[in-house]
């Protein structure tokens, strides 16, 4: 077994274990911290796949901004642990069965039918460097890039309007 494969399996185990930890921990704070670890592991995968720009965006946007926002809201609302309600008791086993079926089907299709098999070819020089990504972004994807700024503006206005107290009310 080569070093590459060994590294992949260790990281994959970490990613799956942290995802399951996110799913199963009682407190929402622990869930958020497990998810930060998961995002960090996926960022290492991005570096292994020659995508340093995406890896750093992953760390700063997901692990940094988004998860800090989550932690703030969890602590602000004080809803770390919710009491278990017993509505729909059959839902949990059914959900587990369906999720296992989903994963099983996807992996069956991948490995049995060789949908996208083959080794990853060696990268050409400077593939995926931030410079190349920037050139691609501004040469061929300029309009979507600009539309993104409008989307972020709308999200910002929406968040402010939604959380603003009504005048005279409450």
């Amino acid at each position: 077994m080569t070093v590459d494969l060994l590294l992949f399996f260790i990281l994959a185990l970490t990613a799956i274990a942290t995802a399951l930890g996110m799913l199963m921990s009682r407190s929402a704070i622990y869930s958020a911290l497990f998810l930060v670890l998961n995002f960090g592991t996926v960022a290492v995968f991005y570096i292994l796949l020659n995508a340093p720009f995406i890896a750093l965006s992953q760390v700063s946007v997901y692990a940094g901004a988004i998860m800090v926002l989550f932690l703030f809201v969890i602590m602000l609302l004080g809803t770390e642990v919710l009491p278990d309600t017993k509505a729909l008791p059959w839902q949990r086993p059914l959900a587990v069965i369906l999720a296992v079926m989903l994963a099983g089907e996807a992996i069956y299709l991948l490995f049995i039918r060789k949908a996208a098999g083959g080794q990853i070819p060696a990268p050409v020089e400077s593939f995926g460097s931030p410079q190349a990504v920037g050139l691609e972004l501004f040469k061929h994807y300029l309009l979507p890039f600009e539309v993104t700024s409008v989307l972020l503006l709308i999200a910002m206005v929406g968040a402010i309007v939604l959380t603003k107290k009504e005048k005279g009310g409450q």
Binding site: L23, S31, Y62, Q91, F111, G128, E136, L152
Partner: protein
């Protein structure tokens, strides 16, 4: 090198765990985190295929997915805060105001 199939299989497993989280958990914040996990799994598949086919389009797409998910989280968390303010609870089982 690691075959691209392994990356896509890992992505499928992470996506299934995210889907399971949406179905099983009752805390909307954790449901939200599961949605983020699913988006992340999709991103991993994109980057793996980008590396496989030696084009940069997938990485650009991941960049846009990240932007959209950041916007989604901002608005979604604002909605959760507003719901908490009116109902004093965010348990998903108690959000039945539209039930006939």
């Amino acid at each position: 090198m690691v075959p691209v199939t392994y990356y896509v299989a890992l992505s499928a497993i992470l996506f299934s765990i995210g889907a399971l989280g949406v179905l099983v958990r009752r805390n909307p914040l954790i449901i939200f985190m599961s949605v983020e996990l699913m988006l992340n799994a999709a991103n991993l598949a994109f980057v793996a295929f980008t590396r496989f086919y030696q084009t940069l389009n997938g990485q650009i797409f991941v960049f846009f997915v990240m932007t959209v998910s950041a916007a989604e989280v901002a608005v979604g968390l604002a909605l959760i805060v507003t719901i908490f303010r009116t109902k004093h609870s965010i348990n998903i089982d108690e959000m039945n105001g539209l039930k006939g």
